[in-house]
């Protein structure tokens, strides 16, 4: 009878079952915030006037959005986070540990069946682990951290079944972009997307994470790849069902200023770029850096193009070092940044100047997102990004992967 989201929310609200549209107060299993949202959360907790935080032991803070600090203002906020964490015994992942979502995955802080509340919109990514993971703002995070609970409206569920086999040069980013094209920026608004991986071969954990991450751009509240025992009932009721045959996908790209503005890469080939960014919680994992290195190995980034590569976490960075991926990328002319959100959030490390164009592996191409409002941002897979860095213009990566 129940979808995965309904099963998890029923367990968390100690109910036998829950129905879409119903309001429930759920127990939260893990809560986190970062330097973009934690400082406000700390203010709210102070204003609540409480001295104990019920979820302190099941929470974490991350300094990732502007790390290391690029400004005095950020430094003040970081200091405030460190003092707060020390005072309440909250685990803080400091500068250099990486983007909150990747660190949560590296340390298995989200588990199947958990209700995860993150003060970041891309918290949907932890659906790849089988959690009901929801992005919230600072006040909601403060409430969850203080009380251990949060109210939710039980969402409807869209079932998406991924079928077929990915062609050479087509990746999970392209699957997510294809879905964004179909659903638009609000096609899954207030809903959970439940993903069923029937691909051959199956998606890696990293590839699933990219899809759950980008589901936030479809408006989704959560984006779950079900894991036993939280799998949906056979007769679960869905709002809608989508079957996506991934065999016929080609490399895709989102044109500015919306992530749903998706076309085949071949349609925008030859647009010149000033910057390529490979990183972020969407595509800064080992297999993302690996494919970029495969394309860039023994070659050089086009002169005049800045190719900024930022591993999503220290663990990713370490593995990329061990596997000589970093070596390959540096020799190809890439700039390697420390694990951080980097230019994706427009804080630092590769902001765009007026009229500049970037190809990014991140998640948002909104006006002004990565710097000047007149700059243009295209979103694509790490393979498309690496190929584009080589040519200095947007290019279909498949020719670099054959043979």
């Amino acid at each position: 009878m129940a979808t995965t989201a309904e099963k998890i929310l029923a367990k968390a609200s100690e109910a036998k079952r829950v129905e879409p549209g119903e309001f429930v107060v759920a127990n939260v299993d893990f809560v986190f915030a970062h330097d973009g949202t934690a400082p406000l959360m700390i203010d709210v907790i102070r204003e609540f006037g409480v001295t104990t935080l019920k979820l302190a032991g099941k929470s974490a803070l991350f300094i990732d959005h502007a790390a290391p600090s690029p400004s005095l203002q950020s430094s003040i906020l970081h200091k405030k986070m460190r003092e707060f964490a020390a005072r309440y015994g909250i685990k803080l992942f400091d500068v250099g540990e990486g983007v909150c979502h990747q660190v949560v995955m590296d340390y298995y802080l989200a588990q199947p069946g958990y209700v995860v509340v993150g003060a970041d919109s891309h918290t949907t990514i932890h659906g790849a682990t089988g959690a009901f993971a929801v992005g919230v703002g600072s006040t909601d995070a403060a409430f969850a951290l203080t009380t251990g609970r949060l109210w939710f409206k039980v969402p409807e569920t869209i079932k998406v079944t991924l079928k077929g086999k990915l062609e050479l040069g087509v990746f999970s980013k392209d699957i997510a972009l294809a879905l964004l094209k179909e659903l638009g920026t609000d096609g899954a608004s207030y809903m959970t997307i439940e993903y069923h991986d029937e691909l051959s071969p199956k998606l890696s954990q990293s590839a699933k994470a990219t899809i759950s991450n980008l589901s936030a751009e479809m408006g989704a509240k959560a984006a779950i790849f079900p894991v036993e025992p939280f799998t949906p009932d056979r007769d679960a009721a869905y709002f809608s069902e989508i079957d996506l045959d991934c065999s016929c996908l080609e490399p895709l790209i989102a044109k500015p200023p919306l992530p749903s503005n998706v076309v085949p890469v071949s349609e925008v080939e030859n647009i010149e770029v000033n910057e390529v960014f490979i990183g972020s919680c969407t595509n800064g994992r080992l297999e993302d850096l690996e494919i970029a290195a495969r394309i860039l190995k023994g070659k050089k980034v086009r002169e005049g193009v800045r190719c900024v590569v930022i591993p999503a976490s220290r663990k990713v960075y370490e593995k990329a070092l061990e596997n000589n991926i970093i070596d390959t990328l540096v020799k190809a002319g890439c700039v390697i940044g420390p694990p951080t959100c980097g230019p994706c959030v427009g804080a630092h490390m590769g902001l765009l100047g007026p009229e500049e164009t970037a190809l990014s592996t991140a998640n948002r191409n909104f006006t002004g997102r990565m710097g000047d409002p007149s700059a243009k941002i295209f979103l694509a897979s790490p393979a498309t990004a690496a190929a584009t860095a080589l040519e200095g213009k947007i290019v279909d990566p498949r020719k670099y992967l054959r043979g």
Binding site: F23, G36, T37, L40, V44, E47, F48, G49, V50, H65, A66, P70, S71, Q73, S74, I76, L77, A119, D120, S121, T123, G135, V136, G137, S138, T139, D140, F143, T146, T147, T185, D186, S189, Y190, G219, K221, L258, V345, G346, A347, H348, L351, R364, F366, T367, G368, R369, G371, P373
Partner: protein
């Protein structure tokens, strides 16, 4: 009853457009950030907003980043409410939590409302009235507790008033 002039915006106004990331990490206070509200939509907009103004927008207002600074800078700038075809979910929650009324109304009402029209919002009766064009529309009433949070001016004030978190 809220009464104010319309600031008309389009579809998919994301939270980066409300307050750009480049200011978020350069400012310590929401008051500082509020000077740059809507800058990437129109750099002159911030100086034209008057306390009590009401934003009227298209679909999916507040999509994107979970930054609660977005509804907070709107409150600081004096915006009394947002009336839109639909809202992105994180923004919706954040707005209620900071005491900014967010009202989803019929598309036709939004399409027939223009910049500088005079609006009246009655939260208790769940109505929005365009005085200039003599139009009225109902919105889905808020659950009682959310209405109380809004009336208190946000979750923090609500909790203080109640004296407990539950």
């Amino acid at each position: 009853m809220l009464r104010g002039k319309v600031i008309k915006l389009g579809d998919d106004v994301n939270t980066d457009l409300v307050i750009a990331g480049r200011y978020k990490f350069r400012s310590v206070s929401v008051e500082d950030m509020a000077k740059h509200i809507f800058e990437d939509i129109d750099p002159t907009l911030a100086s034209r907003i008057k306390p009590g103004d009401i934003v009227v927008a298209g679909k999916n207002f507040g999509c994107g980043s979970s930054r609660e600074q977005a509804p907070r800078v709107m409150v600081v700038a004096g915006i009394a409410a947002v009336v839109a075809k639909s809202f992105a979910r994180i923004f919706f929650r954040n707005a209620i939590n900071v005491g900014l009324p967010v009202l989803a109304v019929d598309e036709k009402f939004v399409d027939s409302t223009f910049e500088a029209d005079l609006l009246e919002v009655d939260l208790a009766k769940s109505t929005v009235r365009n005085v200039t064009r003599n139009l009225e529309v109902n919105f889905k009433p808020f659950p009682q507790q959310l209405l109380q949070i809004l009336e208190a001016g946000g979750l923090v004030s609500y909790v203080k008033k109640k004296g407990a978190l539950f």
